[in-house]
Symmetry: C2
Subunit: 366 residues, 2 copies
Amino acid sequence: MKIRSVEAIPLAIPYRRPFAFASGKATAADHVLVRITTDDGLVGHGEAPPRPYTYGETATSIVTAVRELFAPVLVGADPFARERIRADLARTVANNTARGAIDVALWDLVGQACGQPVHALLGHAADEVRVAHMIGLGTPAEMVADAVEMSDTCGVEAFKVKVGRDLAHDLAAVRELRRELGDSVELYADANRGWDADTAIVAARRLADFHVTMLEEPNPADDVLGRRRIVRESPIPIVGDESTITLGGVARSLLDRDADAISVKVARTGFTDSAKIVGLCEGLGVTTVVGNQIDGMLGTVASTALACGLRSLARHPVEVTNFLLMSDDVLTDPPVIADGRSGARQGPGLGVAIDPDKLARYRADR
Amino acid sequence: MKIRSVEAIPLAIPYRRPFAFASGKATAADHVLVRITTDDGLVGHGEAPPRPYTYGETATSIVTAVRELFAPVLVGADPFARERIRADLARTVANNTARGAIDVALWDLVGQACGQPVHALLGHAADEVRVAHMIGLGTPAEMVADAVEMSDTCGVEAFKVKVGRDLAHDLAAVRELRRELGDSVELYADANRGWDADTAIVAARRLADFHVTMLEEPNPADDVLGRRRIVRESPIPIVGDESTITLGGVARSLLDRDADAISVKVARTGFTDSAKIVGLCEGLGVTTVVGNQIDGMLGTVASTALACGLRSLARHPVEVTNFLLMSDDVLTDPPVIADGRSGARQGPGLGVAIDPDKLARYRADR
């Protein structure tokens, strides 16, 4: 089996409502669909979400990187040869989500060629995982309403709360969430680098009072000593995300005590490097959590497959609700969240099909 | 697909000649063949070599662990569910090669179910790898004769030289090997914990003069400060093997500076944990080398598949010649080493078949 063509198709799908967080705001999904076709007619898909505030990529840069830098390396290669392809693509730095989407598409092809779903190839740790919902910045009332809706409609019992603004406002929101949702739900927090170290240390202590379990990216990790001071002083684990976007970066961050736990995202490290990061973190005794790059449906399916594949990822609720922000998408079957859980797809590869009418409607290059 | 039965079959296969090293001597292969059969008739195999001086296991303990502890967990499970099975088996400590053989047999089944060879499932880094031959202890003349024979008959150009006895004797052997084999071959050394720290530091410097590239297990790693002093003082990398037999053990050893590089063995960590160890070591920037547990043909095929699957392992010569010590084995097709290389098998799973007559002849339980 050899790769015949690699396409990068920019999409434009409106959001139902904007999603706000300390480092930015998202209002429409300008994701790039990566489609890899083999000489025996299999088609694999991956999705690259442009996140300039995290990776410096735009939809245009992703399309260009895939077409001009990566496609020439991929065409003619065997999709199974992910280790070789990974090394070849690594000659280009950055372009994280472009590379992540290619790796996801390769695993989609490998799964189809094997007649097996990706989570089974990874190790089949679980058939379904608990779901965590991400609550964007807003008034305390808006944030509570969002959480209650997800609890009522989908049974979700874990919430990642965006914080990182004015601390009093953040704490008021967390207090309301804890009061409305009760003690049995898990709350954890993500400041998206919005605080300075002194504020973050106070915040971590106050958040712990509300039984918030973890705090993600409290300040910029490049505020080197400040970040280490937070990790040292915080009563709850500090999660690395934007500061831990590669395998080597995860190792450096953990050895330098910049983080206690790691958010793993298919969108940037695909399946191949995500599994390596999990190996690294298991060896070091570090918790890993499946994060969400404000993924569309395709990325959501991939994230769920990753979590269901590897046991340490299946143990914590998985962030897979962001696709609900989008008004629509290009998959024929949207992900299902029920009873607070999401299941791995049983079809070969990612188990997804692209709706040709929707692809025609939402593609931004025609 | 569900596991229907798990068998542990003790074998007794004479060696052509004994193999000596600083911590022991092997004269016959009392390996245990693990055979896992599924409800749809697939049969997967793995091989557990009892190495009491490394893991505390005997053939009897392996057979007992597989039959009494592991089979009840495995029967009824899906062979794809390696992450769940791994966690279940991990409730029993030690028994490393018993567990390794089970994981290898599970991957053999997974590959057969997918119609793909294991190295392709792992990432298909290479179709073939360079081979390293292990030279047991002997007189310098005997050791040179062994190396020259492997060079002449199989084109091997990398040799792991057993050392760890009287240093003058060891250095005489290495000097002769370098003189006879020339400068272009790779020589590396394995002391199997035979020296004390002071001797090892002198040895490392002298071995470096002969362009020996690495030194494995120079002294007992439990001589804690002594080992760290060797790692600090040695001009060549110190490789952990007997002291780094689990994922967590590898992490601890590297963080404690007990080793600079890691020997990875399918015999003890199967494919699943070996891949995790490679992820850990890649993240930490640490060299990994595929080692040999004096494997028979089945273990040799598995080691080659691992090395061909993962790129960091495919880069260094792979220790896969020890099966030549055995007078025979139970596979229908022995591994082939030619032009200093060994190739991954192309058949599904491990791509091996057991010869029923040979199995009947060599099984030790009937």
